[in-house]
C-alpha cells in the first residue's frame, strides 16, 4: 500500500452463514478491491442487498472478513483490520476510523452533549475542550442548546440523526464512514451536513458514504463504487 492511500482493500470476501435458518449461505463479497486516498469522498451505490452497509461494517470491524485484507494507516503503521485483535480495532476506532450509523444507540438518560463529546473523551482529550467542540457541532447542526442537556432518546428521527452526525464528526478521524447521513433530514439540515462533508474532505479526511439521495451524492462524491449482486 502506497503512502498516499489511507485505506486499501484486497480480495475481500464475505459470506454470512445462517445456522439457525437451515445453514443458508448469503454471499456478499467475492474478491472486492478498493483503495481510498486522503480527501476522497467515495459514494457506494447499488440496489438494496448488494452489501453497501456491509462494506462499511467490514471496514469498521463490526463484520468479520471471510478472506482478504482491509488495510488502514493507523498511527503511522499499516494495519489489516481483517486480522487485527479486538483491542487493536478498538484503538483504530478511537483514532483512525469514525462512523455515523443510521440509528443512534444511546443509554437512556445520557445528555446529548455527553454523547457527542464521548469519542473525544475516549481518546483522552480534555473534558472542557471536548464539550466545547461537541457544542459547536450541535450548534452547527441546528440542535439548540436547550436540548443539549436532555437525552436524545425522545428526539425526532432527524434530530437523532444530527446528534449521530455530530458525534461521528467530533473526533476528526482521518477516515469517516457515513451510512445514509442525510436520509431523514429537511433541506436546510441536509445542506448543513453536505457542507460539513465537503469541508472534512477539503481538510484531508477520506470518506466512504452511502447516499440514497442522488443529488446529495452528486454534490459531495469525488468517486463512485457501484455494487452489484454477486453471481
Amino acid at each position: 500500500m502506497t503512502i498516499s492511500k489511507l485505506l486499501a482493500i484486497t480480495n475481500l470476501c464475505k459470506t454470512f452463514r445462517l445456522h439457525i435458518q437451515g445453514g443458508v449461505e448469503i454471499a456478499v463479497f467475492n474478491g472486492l478491491e478498493l483503495t481510498l486516498a486522503r480527501g476522497e469522498v467515495l459514494a457506494v451505490t447499488g440496489p438494496s442487498g448488494t452489501g453497501k452497509s456491509s462494506l462499511l461494517k467490514l471496514i469498521y470491524g463490526t463484520y468479520r472478513a471471510g478472506a482478504g485484507r482491509i488495510e488502514v494507516v493507523h498511527r503511522g503503521s499499516v494495519i489489516d483490520i481483517a486480522t487485527a485483535t479486538p483491542r487493536l480495532i478498538g484503538d483504530i476506532r478511537r483514532h483512525t476510523i469514525g462512523s455515523v450509523t443510521q440509528f443512534l444507540r444511546a443509554i437512556p438518560g445520557v445528555p446529548t452533549l455527553d454523547i457527542v463529546a464521548e469519542p473525544l473523551l475516549e481518546r483522552g482529550e480534555d473534558a472542557a475542550k471536548a464539550k466545547a467542540r461537541a457544542g459547536g457541532l450541535l450548534e452547527r447542526l441546528a440542535i439548540p442548546p436547550r436540548l443539549w442537556h436532555l437525552s436524545p432518546v425522545t428526539f425526532s428521527g432527524g434530530e437523532q440523526q444530527r446528534v449521530n452526525i455530530a458525534r461521528g464528526f467530533a473526533a476528526r478521524a482521518p477516515i469517516l464512514l457515513l451510512d445514509e447521513p442525510t436520509a431523514s433530514l429537511d433541506p436546510a439540515n441536509r445542506e448543513r451536513v453536505l457542507a460539513m462533508i465537503a469541508e472534512a474532505s477539503a481538510a484531508g479526511t477520506a470518506i466512504i458514504g452511502i447516499f440514497h439521495d442522488a443529488a446529495a451524492r452528486n454534490q459531495v462524491a469525488t468517486r463512485t463504487l457501484a455494487l452489484t449482486s454477486p453471481p
Binding site: G61, T62, P86, I107, G109
Partner: protein, 261 residues
C-alpha cells in the same frame, strides 16, 4: 500509550472448575487490559458466574491459572499470592458488585459506614476524611448527602445497588467484577445504573468483568464480549462483532432471540 508495550492486567489460562463430575467452566483463556470492560454472556447454567468466581479468587479452579499484574507491575499467579497481597486485592485493588446488594453491603450499618468500612480496612483512621470520602462517593453515585446516616434497609433496590458500587470504588480499585449488576431492577432504574457504570469506567482506566444474561446491558456497557455455553467460551470478540456478526449457531440463536421494542 502504544499498544505493543502495554501488558495485560489479568490473564486467564486454561481455567476450569469441576463440581464433582459436573463441568462448571472449562478451558477458558483470555487477557484483559486496563480500561477494558468485558462482558460474559450466556444463559443460566452456562458457567458465567463460576468463571467470575474463579477469576476473583472466590472459588479455587480445578485446572488452569489466573495471572494478575500488581501495582508494582509484577505479574503474579493468583494461587501464589502472599496473604498480604491477597488481602490487598480483595480489600483495595478489586471490587465485587453482587446481583443482590444485600450480599455486598452490610445491612446493619449506615450507608456512610458501608463506604467508610472499606477505607478503614486499608488503614484509614481519620473520621473526617472517611466521612468526606463517603459523602463524595454518595454524590458520585447520585445519592443525597442527607441519606448518609440511613441504613441501606431504608434504600430502594436501585439505591442499594449504587451504594454497593460506591462501597467498592472508594478504595480506587483497578478491576471490578460484576455479577448481573442490573438484574432484578426496574428498567428505568437499570438505565440510570448503566449510565453511572459507564461514566465510572469510561476514560478512568478502571477495568471490569461483567456477567450478564442481558445482551442489551452488555452492548451498552462492554467493549468486548465472551459467549459461554455448557461451561466453555464458544465465541468472543468486540461486543458489536459478536452481536452483529455472530459466527456460532448458539450465538446466532441467542442474538436472534432478543425481543425488539
Amino acid at each position: 500509550m502504544t499498544l505493543a508495550d502495554d501488558q495485560p492486567l489479568l490473564v486467564a489460562e486454561g481455567l476450569g472448575k469441576l463440581y464433582g463430575g459436573r463441568v462448571g467452566c472449562l478451558d477458558v483463556s483470555f487477557a484483559l487490559w486496563a480500561g477494558e470492560v468485558l462482558a460474559i454472556v450466556g444463559e443460566s447454567g452456562s458457567g458465567k458466574s463460576t468463571l467470575l468466581k474463579c477469576l476473583s479468587m472466590q472459588l479455587a479452579p480445578s485446572s488452569g491459572r489466573v495471572h494478575y499484574r500488581l501495582r508494582d507491575q509484577r505479574m503474579v499467579a493468583l494461587d501464589r499470592l502472599s496473604e498480604a497481597e491477597r488481602r490487598f486485592l480483595m480489600r483495595t485493588d478489586w471490587g465485587f458488585v453482587h446481583q443482590d446488594p444485600r450480599e455486598g453491603l452490610r445491612m446493619g450499618v449506615s450507608a456512610g459506614a458501608n463506604i467508610g468500612e472499606r477505607l478503614m480496612a486499608v488503614g484509614e483512621r481519620h473520621y473526617g476524611r472517611i466521612r468526606g470520602a463517603a459523602l463524595d462517593w454518595l454524590d458520585r453515585v447520585e445519592i443525597e448527602a442527607d441519606r448518609i446516616d440511613d441504613s441501606p434497609l431504608a434504600y430502594s433496590g436501585g439505591m442499594r445497588q449504587r451504594l454497593q458500587i460506591a462501597r467498592n470504588l472508594v478504595t480506587g480499585p483497578r478491576l471490578v467484577f460484576m455479577d448481573e449488576p442490573t438484574g432484578g431492577l426496574d428498567v428505568s432504574v437499570q438505565a440510570r445504573l448503566l449510565d453511572l457504570m459507564r461514566r465510572l469506567t469510561h476514560g478512568s482506566g478502571l477495568s471490569a468483568v461483567v456477567v450478564t444474561h442481558d445482551l442489551a446491558v452488555a452492548r451498552l456497557l462492554s467493549s468486548r464480549m465472551m459467549v459461554m455455553q455448557a461451561g466453555r467460551v464458544i465465541e468472543s470478540g468486540l461486543t458489536d462483532q459478536v452481536l452483529e456478526d455472530p459466527q456460532e449457531p448458539y450465538t446466532q440463536l441467542l442474538v436472534s432471540s432478543v425481543l425488539q421494542v
